[in-house]
């Protein structure tokens, strides 16, 4: 399922735990790992902009070169060394590369060049990254939190196509040997239904959405999966269910929740969840 795993690490933050998870998944799925250290272009631009007027072009270029050189040094001496120690011990094939650019753009560039089945990454709220890739990439993204829990919560809802999540949850649960729980959330804040192409329908009544939920539960029962039906907001109900079962991993589908209130764009649900949750999340896009 995850033959080729891409682990991007931003110079903005480094979460050591992703190597443990990377090694764990690579052993289970016999994967190859590509590690990229991204020297965050936004940080460099910001520093350059701050120095504008205060330092000359020559000085600014020197400073930028020096910052890049030090980041390469950090990558070689600390990050790649940590990875080598762990992956080499377990005979996991991996290679590393240092790239300068914007986090999401670099990852998308990598996906254009090579075939990957999973992006495994950490998350840090206090940094300059926008995490556009959550919305713009169509392979699964595993956001590691470093939790030790070993159960899976699969979340389906009226706001997602619900095609890949059940299948992937079952396979992961079997391969990893983790318990599987599934919930179907009827999001009454955004009362629409999303079809298999990811298109949002017109507004629907609560009853119609609940009925659709029941239908989904019956379909899953035929596959031997128990599903709990809940209603509320997708984010809150997911967080509540994850808390209740002590989830280590929450699997979310390609939700299409409304991205603006009264025409004002709001933060994407995926980013909001990654910011607040204590569990790891697998976004199945």
């Amino acid at each position: 399922m995850f033959k080729n795993i891409l682990i991007p690490i931003s110079s903005e933050f480094y979460q050591k735990e992703i190597f443990q998870t990377g090694a764990f998944l690579a052993e289970k799925f016999d994967s190859t790992i590509k590690l990229i250290y991204i020297i965050e272009g936004k940080t460099l631009d910001q520093t350059e902009k701050r120095l504008d007027s205060y330092r000359t072009d020559f000085d600014r270029a020197e400073t930028k070169k020096e910052i890049i050189r030090r980041h390469i040094h950090v990558a070689d001496t600390i990050i790649f060394e940590d990875a080598k120690r762990l992956f080499a011990d377990k005979n996991i094939p991996f290679n590393g590369e240092v790239i300068e650019g914007e986090f999401s753009t670099v990852i998308k560039g990598q996906l254009n060049k090579y075939k990957y089945d999973l992006i495994l990454m950490g998350f840090e709220k206090e940094c300059l990254l926008h995490y556009r890739l959550f919305e713009e990439v169509d392979i699964p993204i595993w956001v590691e939190s470093g939790t030790d829990e070993k159960s899976i919560l699969a979340v389906c809802s009226n706001l997602a196509p619900n095609q890949k999540v059940p299948e992937m949850s079952l396979r992961l649960s079997k391969t990893l040997g983790w318990d599987l729980h599934m919930v179907y959330v009827v999001d009454i804040q955004d009362a629409v239904e999303v079809d298999s192409n990811g298109k949002r329908s017109e507004k629907k009544s609560e009853n119609a959405l609940l009925e659709r939920g029941q239908q989904f539960i019956s379909e899953m029962e035929k596959k031997g999966i128990d599903v709990t039906l809940v209603k509320g907001s997708l984010e809150k109900e997911t967080a509540k269910a994850a808390e209740d079962i002590g989830a280590g991993l929450v699997i979310l589908g390609r939700e299409q929740k409304k991205k603006s209130i009264l025409g004002i764009p709001v933060k994407g649900m995926k980013r909001k969840m990654a910011e607040t949750c204590k569990y790891s999340i697998l976004f199945v896009n």
């Binding site: 933050f13 910001q46 701050r50 504008d52 000085d59 910052i67 980041h71 950090v74 001496t77």
Partner: protein, 482 residues
């Protein structure tokens, strides 16, 4: 050959794609800034203010918006402030451009050339390593060493240059110690010590930050002369109280987890031995810089042998001895800051001559009353708030004319006292990454988060506000009778 052509074409495409364009956001900020001027043009003239004064307040707000949002370079905003005054008929063109004849401009140019020579020959790095080697005993002392070294170097060269030079030194040491970015309080404290050390050090002398010459420039326009030594007399108590205080705050906010710094010692020794023996040019630069500083402190006089004359003399000596060439000056002197300075000083002159400064001061008194202690406290708070969200030269440029006007109205607050309060508080930009280039440079290391900066910065700013307030009341007013 074909490959080379392909590569060139690829690069050409990239360059083409990167052609500078203003984003919608920047266009909006520029539009808002101009709209403010237009709005002031049509506003009725308030009681007690002239039409030119009203327009000057509009220009002040325009400058403030452009300096905070930065849709165009800071220096270009400076130029805009210069030309908009004659365009609107507020001041004659000859008057606004004459501000560039101020001695402080030439002092700045000379100081930048001297700093350029230090950087060219790596003398600043040698001094930094020498300083650091005195603080290798334990991790806590070492972080204090970083702070002290940054502060000391910011006495003799601009703070941004010091931060840019210290960053690679400290990262190399952290890497040698295998300190993982953002996972170690020692890493956080070390990096924040660079940012805060440079900021605090820049208060110490007239060279540390461009806002300092700007202040003496504005003071000289109203007949106050402040020598290099005078400045140090006023500022050094604040520097020497703030340094250990902020260092203590960093240690309380981020208790250091490591005990051994043997590998840091090895790395410093490695870097010292790599820099080799001091060369002839390095020694000459050192002698000229020391001589210039001695002349500034002990010999300068406002009439003939002024700070600017000494700064330019030092610069010319560097040329005579072959230590620098004109190419070095072109590479290392940031002319942008000179233009920014020009804009800032004309803004001050305009505010003063049109009576806009004193009108704002009166409106402030209506709200706060004219208790001198409250005024002193208010000026410090306002400057610290403003300097955290915009360029510190811009913040000082906006507040100095208002501060000077306040000083003429409030008994117990002299123009010199008000100016020193604003100039020194203007250097305390501790909270945000964007507040000062030193913070941005240290942040680019990846060793601390914006939250870490906020956490330590808020407390450090509050503490330093207290320090400036107490020094102003007890030492400046009480002892020096400012």
């Amino acid at each position: 050959m074909e490959k080379d052509t392909e590569k060139m074409e690829e690069e050409y495409k990239v360059i083409k794609g990167k052609s500078p364009t203003l984003s919608k956001r920047n266009i909006l900020f520029i539009a808002v800034a101009f709209l403010v001027v237009v709005l002031f043009y049509f506003l009725p003239i308030p009681e007690g203010l002239s039409n030119n004064g009203k327009m000057m307040i509009g220009i002040l707000l325009m400058g403030g918006i452009l300096w905070i949002t930065e849709p165009i370079p800071l220096a270009v905003t400076g130029l805009l402030i210069i030309i908009i005054q004659p365009i609107l008929g507020i001041m004659p063109a000859g008057d606004v451009f004459s501000s560039f004849g101020n001695q402080a401009v030439f002092f700045l140019i000379g100081a930048f050339i001297l700093a350029g020579a230090l950087e060219k020959h790596g003398l600043h790095k040698r001094i930094a390593l020498k300083f650091l080697s005195f603080f290798e005993k334990n991790p806590k002392l070492f972080t204090f060493g970083i702070m002290i070294s940054c502060a000391f170097l910011s006495f003799i060269m601009p703070e941004h240059g010091v931060a840019a030079m210290f960053l690679p030194i400290v990262i190399s040491i952290l890497i040698a110690m295998k300190i993982t970015p953002r996972k170690s309080n020692f890493g956080i404290v070390s990096m924040l010590s660079i940012a805060y050390g440079c900021s605090i050090g820049s208060l110490g002398t007239l060279i540390g930050g461009a806002r300092n010459p700007l202040t003496i420039g504005m003071l000289s326009d109203i007949g106050y002369s402040v020598s290099f030594f005078d400045w140090m007399t006023y500022s050094m108590p604040i520097v020497f109280i703030s340094l250990p205080l902020v260092w203590l705050i960093l240690h309380i906010s981020f208790p250091i987890e490591i005990k051994n710094i043997a590998s840091a010692k090895t790395e410093i020794n490695r870097q010292v031995s790599r820099s080799g023996k001091m060369g002839r040019y390095e020694l000459t630069v050192l002698c000229i810089v020391v001589l210039t500083i001695i002349l500034w402190i002990f010999v300068s006089s406002p009439t003939y042998f002024s700070l600017a004359v000494i700064a330019i003399l030092g610069s010319i000596l560097l040329f005579f001895t072959g230590c620098i060439t004109w190419k070095d000056v072109e590479q290392r002197v940031p002319w942008g800051i000179i233009l920014l300075y020009g804009g800032a000083i004309t803004l001050g002159i305009g505010m003063q001559k049109t009576g806009a400064g004193s009108w704002i001061a009166h409106r402030l008194f209506d709200v706060t009353g004219n208790n001198p202690y409250l005024v002193i406290f208010g000026l410090i708070i306002l400057t610290v708030l403003l300097t955290n969200i915009m360029s510190n030269v811009g913040a000082v440029a906006i507040l100095l004319p208002i501060g000077l006007a306040i000083a003429t109205e409030v008994p117990g607050v002299s123009p010199l006292l008000a100016s020193m309060l604003i100039a020194l508080s203007g250097g305390l930009a501790f909270i945000f990454i964007i507040a000062t280039p030193g913070n941005a440079i240290a942040y680019s290391s990846g060793y601390f988060s914006s939250r870490d900066l906020l956490k330590a910065g808020v407390v450090a700013n509050i503490a330093c506000i207290g320090v400036i307030f107490l020094v102003a009341i007890i030492y400046w007013k009480g002892v020096l009778n400012l």
